[in-house]
Structures are given as structure tokens and as C-alpha cells.
């Protein structure tokens, strides 16, 4: 048979319903050819993972069909096909069921019919590729998260698959591990189908995009076309251009203006620094197995300060956060609000310090949103009236009004994250800790979280790998490495220091480069089509002549120049919402634009 002319996968009218009759996929028509690098994109809950599971027969269509090399994926053919199609699950613990890393990596090759020696040899080779050969006989549960991800990929690569399907391969990985993953995928010569909200990563490894919305395939375009078309991206909740915007001006801290003397988190102006909120002196912590998680950490944080905690996976960030929450006690001195934290009073720190975990599922366990928010408020001993008031306020704050009776476990990823945040905000802690607030969120969810966090005033610690959030939300950055604080500097200085990444093994450069490339594509695209533009030039409203930035639609097939001394204009894309004079278009006015008017 000649497979070269035939698509590798053909999907015809594919529908899928879950047993509870939830319609997950509708009328999917697509083909994937050998060697394609396809990105499956869409919002949380759009059906990406459900579709991906059809590619290796983990789910079967309710109606319609999926053909692999011209044959339906069922029976013995399915068994055979699965040995050619590798599927990387989002959580590596789902995939690493072997007793040792080597045993796990050899599992697939053994099922392909290789002898033990051959399978182990194949497994060893791939472990070498993912740089885990020195841990071949270690149990998977003793690996770090990044190592687990790479071990799971090794298990697939050992099968020498023709197709690799990856579900959120970079979720929760630091930038170094992400770059390692990218290198591995660049070296893969087969067909790649990748699901991710990390569009910069997808831009680097995929050439084609299948955009899903509510279970329907809306677009099948080249990836560069998708990222350049912001209007389309926004429609699918994928527009991540907010990350390219220039830094927004920060409100000044001013406690007197708010009258907020308690230091509790709230919306409004920043409280003025008044006292030292946190002070750690020579603080160290050892785990039970003797390994040192944090070593001789010295840290001072003022009330109202917003601080970022950066570091590779395993640098000690989470342990430090546990110490600050009073969950772990090591050696050294910890003072909160100028009082020493002892074994006794550390149990009451929860009243002052709130945390939103990386995985919101870890802190949502109640039967309804109302119960979930009320949980902490009850522990604070608040009256029912006060509880209801606070609940109403935080639900409004995070955009979950009307969700009171919904079951948390049935909410989407973005909604759950906002609910977790609401639960903590309702308790009005003096210090809010956010552990990877964007983990697993689609760009729209990220933007929503960012908008909420931008409005918060109060002390904040943000542990993240996301430099954009560091820039937007914090003033000071601590770089952690091997349990210690390597650098303590302003976030502005941190972000401008290009060489800093190499200090703690992090590699941010590829993200920055890819971001710049996408931004350039978007600008070129916008200037070739009718587009909204922000201009600042003289214009008239009747007899009144004035100047202010305003938007209007235009098209030009030439390189636009705003200033005499610049041949090209280089402002980042702006939004319609940035129009400072909203009714401008409706008013009777005359204006023109062009380089000559700028003179």
C-alpha cells in the first residue's frame, strides 16, 4: 500500500458524547498527514483532549469515523496502531506506572514484541536522550516533576512512534525544562499532535493549528496565520497578545487614601509600607530524609510589598512558601508582623496568610461554591450576615456571580482557579501567596486572573515561571537556586538582565524571541488588513480642535510612518478598549492621518 499519498489520520463527521450525554465533539472533519506538526488549540473544555484520545483509540466516536492509514481504529488493528502512536498525558504520574524508570520506559517496547534485552537497550537509549540514564533504576515517585515529564516522554520515544500526541507537555515546567522538551521535539521526525495553552511553545514546534470551540473544529490553518489573526484568536479565547503590551502604570501606594490600616487585601490604592511583615533570619529546612530544601535564607518583606519568587523546579520555592504559611518549621528565626513565629502561634498564621495552590483541585473539596467560600469564613467565626456579604463581594470580584450553588468539581479550569482565589480573598489575609497562578489556564483565563490580581492591593508573594506576571504584578524579585536566595533585586532589573537566566539554570531567551517573532507577525498582519489603530494627531469636532490618542479603522499597504525620523513605526498592538474617548466614532468630526500630519 502506498501511504505517502494517503492521509495518516482521516476524521469524517466525528461526533462524541460522554456517557452522561454531554456532547464533547461535533462533526469533526480533518486530515493529518505524515510529518505534520499540528497544534490542537482552544479554550479549557473545548474538546481538545477528547479529540486527541480518538487519535489512538482511547475513545471511540459516537458517530462518524476516524481512520488511521485508511483503516478504522478498532480490534486488533487498534492494538497494533497504539504501538505506533505515543500519547503523553498531562500528569506524568498517570503514565509512569512502572516500578523503576527503566522498567517503565521498556514497557512499550516489550509490548511491541521486543525481547527483554532489546527493550531495555531501547529504553536506555531514550533515557540517555532525555538525560535520565543516571536514574534508570530509581522509582518514578522519587523523581522531580520535570524528571517525571521527561521519563514519561522517554517511555514513548523508546517505542519509536510514528505519531506523538502530547497533552500539555510544558504544564508546570520551568523554562529550562521547557527548552529541553522543545529540543527533544525538534529532534522528533514523525507526526506531532500537540495540545497546549502555551502558544509560544506551540509556535516553536507546530506548523499547523486546529482550533476547537465548544467541540467544533472552527479553523484548520497554519499556526503563523492563527497567531497573527488576533480577532480570531480572541474569539476562541486564545489571544495572548496582552502579554506583549507595554507595562501598565502602577498605582502609587497610599494607605491614607484608603483608610485601610489593617493591611488586609482589598481592591483600591496600594497601602503605604508601614512595617516589616515578614522577616526570616538564617532560616533552613531539612526534609525527613536529610535533604536540605532551603538553606540560610534571609528575607525581609514590608507590608504592602509585592514580591516574585523565581527559580527552577526543586529550587525550594514551595518549601519556603510552606514555611511562611507556618506549615513547616525549620531552624532559624521567622518573624511575622514583628512577632516571632513559634510552634504554638504558627497554627494561627492561616488567619493572616492565604495561599492559592498551583492545582486548584487541592483546595476545593466542598459540595458547592457557597460551601467552599463559607468554609474559611466559618473558621474565622464570622456571622452568617458577614459571611454572605463577603461571599457576594468576592464572587463579584472574581466574576463568578450566580455560581453559588454550582459544584466546584464541575467548573472549568479557569473558573476553579478564580473560585480558589475567591475562597482566599474572602478571608482578607494580610499576605496573599500565589503558586503558579496561570498553571493549566487558557489565555483568556490568564487574562481574567491577571485583571483580578492587578486590582488587588496588599502584600503579595508570587511563585511563578511566568515572567509576564512577574512584570505585571510585582516590584521585587527573589531568584532561588538550590534552596538559597541567589539574587534579591527589583523586578525591573531582573527582567532587564538578560544574562540572569543562566545563573540558576533557567532559560527565558527562547520565549522572549518567540514572543517578539509573533508580535512582529501580528503587526505585519494588522497593517495589511483593515485594522484599528491608535493615533495621536490634531483633529476637529465642529469648531473645537484638539489632540488625543484615538482609534479608527484604516488600511494601508505601505510601511506606516508616524514620525519624521522613523521609517517604520514600532508600537505594540493596542486594544479597542484603550480608546480614551469611547463615543468618538459616533461624533460628528473630520480627521485625517498620515505621516504628513505629524509634522
Amino acid at each position: 500500500m502506498n501511504f505517502a499519498s494517503r492521509p495518516l489520520f482521516s476524521l469524517h463527521g466525528l461526533d462524541f458524547r460522554y456517557p452522561d450525554q454531554t456532547e464533547a465533539l461535533q462533526n469533526i472533519e480533518a486530515t493529518v498527514h505524515s510529518g505534520d506538526c499540528v497544534a490542537l488549540v482552544g479554550q479549557n473544555g473545548s474538546g481538545k483532549t477528547t479529540l486527541a484520545k480518538h487519535f489512538n483509540g482511547l475513545l471511540h466516536p459516537t458517530s462518524g469515523s476516524i481512520l488511521y492509514k485508511g483503516q478504522s481504529l478498532s480490534g486488533k488493528y487498534l492494538q497494533q496502531a497504539r504501538l505506533e502512536i505515543g500519547f503523553l498525558f498531562q500528569d506524568p504520574d498517570d503514565q509512569l506506572f512502572g516500578h523503576t524508570v527503566l522498567e517503565d520506559a521498556a514497557f512499550g517496547p516489550r509490548n511491541q514484541g521486543l525481547t527483554r534485552a532489546e527493550a531495555e537497550s531501547a529504553a536506555r537509549q531514550t533515557l540517555e536522550i532525555v538525560r535520565l540514564e543516571h536514574l534508570a533504576y530509581k522509582s518514578p515517585h522519587n523523581l522531580s516533576f520535570g524528571q517525571k515529564k521527561r521519563a514519561a516522554l522517554a517511555g514513548l520515544l523508546a517505542m519509536q512512534p510514528q505519531v506523538l500526541i502530547l497533552d500539555e507537555p510544558t504544564a508546570n515546567l520551568d523554562s529550562f525544562q521547557e527548552a529541553v522538551f522543545l529540543k527533544l521535539l525538534h529532534d522528533f521526525s514523525g507526526t506531532l499532535i500537540c495540545i497546549s495553552h502555551n502558544l509560544i511553545f506551540l509556535y516553536e514546534c507546530c506548523s499547523r493549528a486546529l482550533a476547537l470551540e465548544h467541540g467544533r473544529l472552527r479553523h484548520d490553518v497554519s499556526f503563523s496565520n492563527l497567531v497573527t489573526d488576533r480577532r480570531r484568536m480572541r474569539a476562541y479565547g486564545l489571544d495572548f497578545s496582552f502579554r506583549f503590551q507595554p507595562e501598565a502604570p502602577r498605582p502609587e501606594r497610599d494607605l491614607a487614601a484608603t483608610g485601610n490600616h489593617s493591611g488586609a487585601l482589598s481592591s483600591g490604592p496600594f497601602p503605604k509600607p508601614q512595617s516589616c511583615l515578614i522577616e526570616l533570619t538564617d532560616y533552613s529546612f531539612h526534609y525527613a530524609d536529610g535533604s536540605q530544601a532551603i538553606r540560610k535564607v534571609n528575607l525581609k518583606m514590608e507590608e504592602g510589598e509585592r514580591l516574585a519568587l523565581i527559580g527552577e523546579n526543586g529550587a525550594g520555592k514551595s518549601t519556603l512558601l510552606s514555611v511562611l504559611l507556618g506549615l513547616k518549621r525549620g531552624s532559624g528565626e521567622y518573624r511575622f508582623d514583628n512577632r516571632a513565629v513559634t510552634a504554638r502561634n504558627s497554627r494561627k498564621l492561616w488567619r493572616q496568610v492565604g495561599i492559592v495552590f498551583q492545582d486548584s483541585a487541592d483546595q476545593l473539596f466542598s459540595a458547592s461554591v457557597r460551601e467552599e467560600i463559607a468554609f474559611g469564613l466559618r473558621r474565622l467565626g464570622l456571622s452568617r450576615q458577614l459571611r454572605d456579604e463577603r461571599m457576594e463581594r468576592v464572587l463579584d470580584q472574581v466574576g463568578l456571580q450566580g455560581f453559588e450553588e454550582r459544584v466546584p468539581v464541575h467548573l472549568s479550569g479557569g473558573e476553579r482557579k478564580r473560585l480558589a482565589l475567591a475562597c482566599v480573598l474572602a478571608m482578607q489575609p494580610r499576605l496573599l501567596i500565589l503558586d503558579e497562578p496561570t498553571a493549566g489556564l487558557d489565555p483568556e483565563g490568564e487574562e481574567q486572573i491577571l485583571a483580578i490580581l492587578r486590582d488587588l492591593r496588599g502584600s503579595l508573594i508570587l511563585a511563578t515561571h511566568d515572567l509576564f506576571f512577574v512584570r505585571e504584578l510585582t516590584e521585587r524579585t527573589l531568584v532561588m537556586h538550590q534552596g538559597g536566595i541567589l539574587k534579591d533585586l527589583s523586578s525591573r532589573d531582573f527582567l532587564q538582565d538578560k544574562g540572569l537566566g543562566s545563573l540558576n539554570g533557567l532559560a527565558y531567551s527562547y520565549r522572549l524571541q518567540a514572543g517578539e517573532a509573533i508580535q512582529a507577525l501580528q503587526q505585519a498582519h494588522e497593517h495589511a488588513l483593515p485594522h484599528l489603530h491608535l493615533h495621536d494627531h490634531q483633529h476637529w469636532h465642529g469648531d473645537v480642535q484638539h489632540s488625543h490618542p484615538h482609534l479608527h479603522e484604516h488600511i494601508h499597504g505601505f510601511i506606516h510612518s508616524h514620525h519624521q525620523d522613523q521609517e517604520e513605526h514600532g508600537h505594540p498592538p493596542r486594544r479597542v478598549q484603550e480608546h480614551v474617548h469611547r463615543k468618538h466614532e459616533l461624533e460628528d468630526h473630520v480627521h485625517g492621518h498620515g505621516p504628513e500630519e505629524q509634522k
Partner: protein, 305 residues
């Protein structure tokens, strides 16, 4: 008639003695745990070398055929459990300790295992002497003037016998389970006729126990940071129920995902079999000797009656 020995110890002193004894045992157990907690020989291991190769020539237990090892040590354990006399129970304990030394198991690991049964043994030592029924010929120590608290030496003898047997069996588990990787031991079991599915279930349970433990730990932390404190109130029971329910849902979803991941890599009912060595005459001979030693202990025990 039982032999009675009177003592004029007042009740408060006896209670104090018991409390002191229990506290001393608890402190000793805790001290041992703390002492050996940081000593992890596993961390120093070279993980690029297979466990069997890493332990090659370490002891005959490491190279012993796993089927013979299971039959010999499990059989010996059953024989030890049937012993009635203290002296022979201590004899069995000695054999276990010799096996432990021969298997070159780290002393700290053996002690950690012993501390796990120490509480059970301590409870027996405290309760049995004062609760066993008095038989003719029993030696009794009357601790109070009004003779309501009687310390029966036969009870102490029984408690010590049970304790010694429990410790002998617990110690034998180290040479049995600690000298071969778990998949090989389970494969040995399946070759002895235990259903393969049982081995797969144990293996997966062993792997995912840690994952579920971590998940439960993170959820418990999530509750603690919002003010949850353990108590027996009705509202807490409700919260605890929600916690267990959510843990169950998450575990159930995880098992579905794990099964999907197994299917995606070609699983259709059986795990690939691990490497096994061929059975030799020495393996069989060693197993027979072990069982003979156990049988001798039982025979001696019966003859002493």
C-alpha cells in the same frame, strides 16, 4: 492452687510504673526513628545500576531463587507462629536475627520495622499479665493489699512468647522483601500459582499509594491553610466526609487515566515479565534446610509439653 507472692505496692505507684514503662517505650521508639531518619543509604546509591547487580555477592539471600525464598521464609514463619514455649520463640528470634545479619540488611531498617510492632508488643506486655485467667500452678504477684490487681507470671510468659514470635516474623520480612525488587518477588509469587492479576494489583498499589498519599497531603494542607483543625465536632465530620469524597473522586479519575495510559502503550492484560534466574539445586537445598530448621523448632516445642 496458684503460688502467690504478695507485694505492698500502692496503686498509684503501679499506675505510675505502667505509665513510665509505656512512655519509655514510646520515647525509645521515637528516638530510634529520629536517629535513623536522616540515614538514607538509598540516596547514596548509584541508580544507573540494576538492584540485583548492585547487590551482587552481597548475601545468599540476594542470589537465592525468589520462589524458594518465599516458600522457605513464609513456611518458616508459619512454623514459628505455632510455637508455644518462650525459649523456642527466642530461638526463632535468634534465627531471624542471624538471617538479618547474613542478608546484610542495614540495622536501621530492621529497627524501624521493629518499632512498627513495638507498640503491639508493649500493649501485650502490659495487658496480658493482669488479664489472663488464673490456672492451677500459676505464679501470681499480688500487687495491692486487697488482691484485686494480680500480676500473673504465666501471662507475662505468654506475652513475651507472642512478642518474640511477632518480632521473629517481622524481622524475617526484611530478608524476604528487602533482598529482591518487588516485581521479582511478585513474579515469584505468580510462578508459585498466585494469580498474576494479584501481583499486578499489588505492584500498581505500591506505585500509586505514594501518589494518593501526596494528593491527600496536599488536600489536607489546603484545608489547614483555611483554618481546619482536627477535632471531633459534627461540622468537622462533615468536612472530613467531603475530603474523603473528593479524594475518592480524584483517585477514581486517576485510576481511569492510568488504565488509559497503560492501554495507550499496548497493555492488554499482562505486564512484561521481569528477569528471573534459573532454579538450582542449592536454592532448593537451602529452602529445605530452612523448613527443616522450623520443623525442628516445632518438634522441640511439642516435646517440651
Amino acid at each position: 492452687m496458684p503460688d502467690a507472692v504478695s507485694s505492698s505496692l500502692p496503686l498509684w505507684q503501679i499506675l505510675l510504673l505502667i505509665v513510665f514503662l509505656l512512655l519509655a517505650l514510646a520515647a525509645a521508639s521515637q528516638a530510634l526513628r529520629c536517629l535513623f531518619r536522616g540515614q538514607s543509604s538509598e540516596e547514596d546509591r548509584d541508580w544507573s545500576v540494576p538492584p540485583l547487580e548492585a547487590s551482587k555477592g552481597r548475601s545468599f539471600f540476594h542470589s537465592w531463587d525468589v520462589r524458594c525464598k518465599i516458600i522457605a521464609l513464609v513456611g518458616f514463619s508459619f512454623l514459628v507462629v505455632s510455637l508455644d514455649h518462650l525459649s523456642l520463640a527466642f530461638g526463632a528470634l535468634t534465627v531471624s536475627m542471624v538471617a538479618l545479619i547474613a542478608a546484610r540488611i542495614p540495622f536501621s531498617r530492621a529497627l524501624m520495622r521493629l518499632t512498627a510492632v513495638a507498640a503491639f508488643v508493649a500493649l501485650l506486655l502490659v495487658i496480658m499479665p493482669v488479664t489472663v485467667p488464673v490456672h492451677p500452678g500459676d505464679r501470681l504477684v499480688v500487687l495491692t493489699e486487697k488482691q484485686w490487681l494480680v500480676f500473673n507470671l504465666r501471662g507475662l510468659d505468654l506475652a513475651l512468647t507472642i512478642g518474640a514470635k511477632a518480632m521473629a516474623v517481622a524481622l524475617l520480612m526484611e530478608p524476604l522483601l528487602g533482598t529482591a525488587p518487588l516485581p521479582i518477588t511478585l513474579h515469584g509469587l505468580s510462578r508459585l500459582g498466585v494469580p498474576k492479576l494479584f501481583g499486578q494489583m499489588v505492584l500498581l498499589s505500591h506505585r500509586y499509594l505514594y501518589v494518593f498519599q501526596e494528593e491527600a497531603g496536599r488536600m489536607a494542607t489546603g484545608m489547614r491553610v483555611r483554618g481546619f483543625q482536627r477535632s471531633s465536632g459534627l461540622s468537622n465530620l462533615r468536612v472530613f466526609g467531603s475530603f474523603l469524597g473528593m479524594l475518592f473522586i480524584r483517585s477514581f479519575e486517576r485510576t481511569e487515566r492510568v488504565f488509559s495510559a497503560m492501554q495507550a502503550r499496548g497493555y492488554h492484560g499482562a505486564f512484561p515479565e521481569p528477569e528471573t534466574k534459573t532454579l538450582s539445586c542449592i536454592d532448593v537445598l537451602l529452602a529445605v534446610l530452612w523448613l527443616l530448621a522450623g520443623t525442628c523448632l516445632v518438634l522441640a516445642d511439642r516435646l517440651m509439653q
